[in-house]
């Protein structure tokens, strides 16, 4: 069947026959970089218009409907506007850190793309500790937020950054523990192994109760980790104007905005990979006929379908729930999510040892 790996193999063979190995590697890295940047731009545009439409329909509004057919070119117009705006640096700001912060946010988002399996045999870097890599790199995000808040010379920015620090540091724990439930059941940290282990059913069905609890905790924790409502204390428009990116304008603001959406995409991709089978089609045990029919749908469609479903769920959270206070936020993590996920991982371990999963 048609797949990305054929194209990749073809390009690799052609490059190896034309250039020496070093140049082949460099050119392949450039191609991968260009693909990631292209994917960034495309996803940014799609996610922004999706967010605006979803929010509008949930709030019984129409949303953007003037630019292009049904308003679908609105985000393109917004991007153009942001590109031509002046990127100001406030006086009294630490200029170097102020200008560096949005790039760190972007670099973190780009690094996170490396281990994600977008389709069958289509992965930038299949490293054997993929899940650990993702949870480690995603915590660098907090440095860019703290940097932006600290260097802005603005009390709102600083407050937003400090809240965000407390939030991300605490919610990483339960996100990590809920990921561990699947890792325990699979016995591997590699993304491709985790996807292959779901060939006879996704973990959310195979692992029943512990994995469902882990999935819910994962969704709550990553919503908090990406600073989205109901956990958007770091931005909190109504309290802190815009939190850590109050002083940013033009393209520097756009980079933060894009990095936020990229992080949402990545955590949803990880969630889809761990719990919903990644690019693996919907398979049920040994039903050969049914599984074969499901295989006809391309694996990239399965991956993006699941990811966008999870993105929709996170947007649905955002436009339904009111924002938590900082003490409620930390109570939720330390008194509820963390004990439950610790208990849950014991349950998952017991289940893996006794073989109670399907």
């Amino acid at each position: 069947m048609w797949s990305f790996s054929h194209i990749a193999d073809f390009i690799h063979e052609w490059l190896s026959s034309t250039f020496n190995p070093t140049w082949t590697l460099i050119i392949e890295m450039v191609i991968a970089g260009v693909c990631v940047i292209g994917l960034f731009a495309a996803l940014g545009l799609v996610l922004v218009i999706m967010e605006r439409k979803v929010s509008a329909w949930i709030q019984i509004r129409l949303g953007p409907n003037r630019v292009g057919p049904k308003g679908m070119l609105q985000s393109l117009a917004d991007t153009l506007k942001l590109l031509v705006k002046e990127g100001m640096t406030p006086s009294g700001a630490d200029k170097f850190l102020f200008n560096l912060a949005p790039f760190i946010a972007m670099i973190v988002a780009m690094l996170l793309f490396a281990p994600i399996a977008f389709a069958k045999d289509f992965q930038l870097w299949d490293l054997n500790i993929g899940v650990l890599y993702v949870s480690a790199v995603s915590s660098i995000m907090v440095i860019s937020i703290l940097m932006a808040g600290w260097s802005s010379n603005n009390k709102y920015s600083l407050m937003g950054a400090m809240r965000s620090g407390a939030q991300i540091v605490s919610y990483e724990l339960s996100a990590g523990l809920s990921i561990l439930a699947v890792v325990v059941l699979t016995g591997s940290l590699s993304i491709s192994d985790i996807v292959m282990s779901q060939a006879d059913g996704w973990w959310i069905f195979k692992g029943h109760i512990p994995v469902i609890i882990a999935f819910i905790i994962f969704l709550i924790a990553v919503t908090a980790e990406t600073n989205r409502a109901p956990f958007d204390l770091a931005e909190a428009e109504s309290e802190l104007t815009a939190g850590f990116h109050t002083e940013y304008s033009g393209m520097k603001f756009a980079l933060f905005f894009l990095a936020e959406y990229m992080n949402v995409f990545i955590v949803c991709a990880i969630g889809a990979t761990l719990f919903l089978g990644g690019w693996m089609p919907f398979h049920i045990g040994n039903w050969e006929g049914f599984n074969h029919v499901m295989d006809w749908i391309p694996s990239s469609v399965w991956f993006f379908g699941k990811t966008f479903f999870l993105i929709f769920v996170i947007m649905w959270f955002r436009w339904t729930f009111p924002r938590l206070r900082i003490d409620q936020l930390l109570n939720l993590e330390w008194k509820y999510l963390l004990p439950i996920s610790m208990f849950n991982i014991l349950l998952a371990t017991l289940m893996a040892i006794m073989g109670w999963h399907f």
Binding site: I60, W319, T320
Partner: protein, 158 residues
């Protein structure tokens, strides 16, 4: 028991969050309920809600009579001095002096559409109109006199 309360708290929270999400999913999937008006495009067919408050007006009947007795209840009820009642004294046919309004001055630029004057009025002389295209080039055009020139109080309104 602490642990029972703990688990009950969690289940209650999950249930109430699910109720909220069910409501927003209902809105998300029912586009017919959208309340946005496509304003400049549907100017001819625009239907405003009954309770929409656009500006204070004083209705007059065909023979140019209103129901205002000049009691200044609206002026007293107004929180920011939007209404000013200028009274005069009419001479009734039997020679008595009777209080009546000369002008009821209404400053649209100050009005917050709080509806307190309408609720305060004992004789239903003023009401809220549904007009809303109020922009003008000069601020003085927003100061309006609500009673028509030469209007009188309606028979039987005290």
């Amino acid at each position: 028991m602490f642990i029972v309360k703990y688990i009950k708290d969690i289940l209650g929270a999950v249930k109430s969050l699910a109720i909220g999400m069910k409501r927003t999913l209902y809105y998300f999937t029912h586009h017919k309920e959208i309340i946005t008006q496509q304003y400049p495009d549907n100017k001819d067919t625009l239907v405003l809600p009954e309770r929409f408050k656009g500006e204070v007006v004083m209705p007059h009947n065909e023979v140019n009579e209103h129901r205002c007795t000049g009691c200044t209840a609206c002026e007293l009820a107004c929180p920011n001095g939007t209404i000013k009642v200028v009274t005069k004294f009419d001479i009734t046919p039997d020679g008595k002096k009777k209080k009546a309004i000369d002008k009821l001055v209404y400053h649209l630029e100050l009005c917050t559409m709080c509806n307190l004057c309408i609720e305060a009025c004992p004789s239903d002389a003023i009401k809220m109109a549904q007009t809303f295209e109020h922009s003008v080039y000069d601020r003085s055009q927003l100061t309006k006199i609500l009673n028509n020139p030469g209007s009188k109080i309606m028979e039987g309104v005290e």
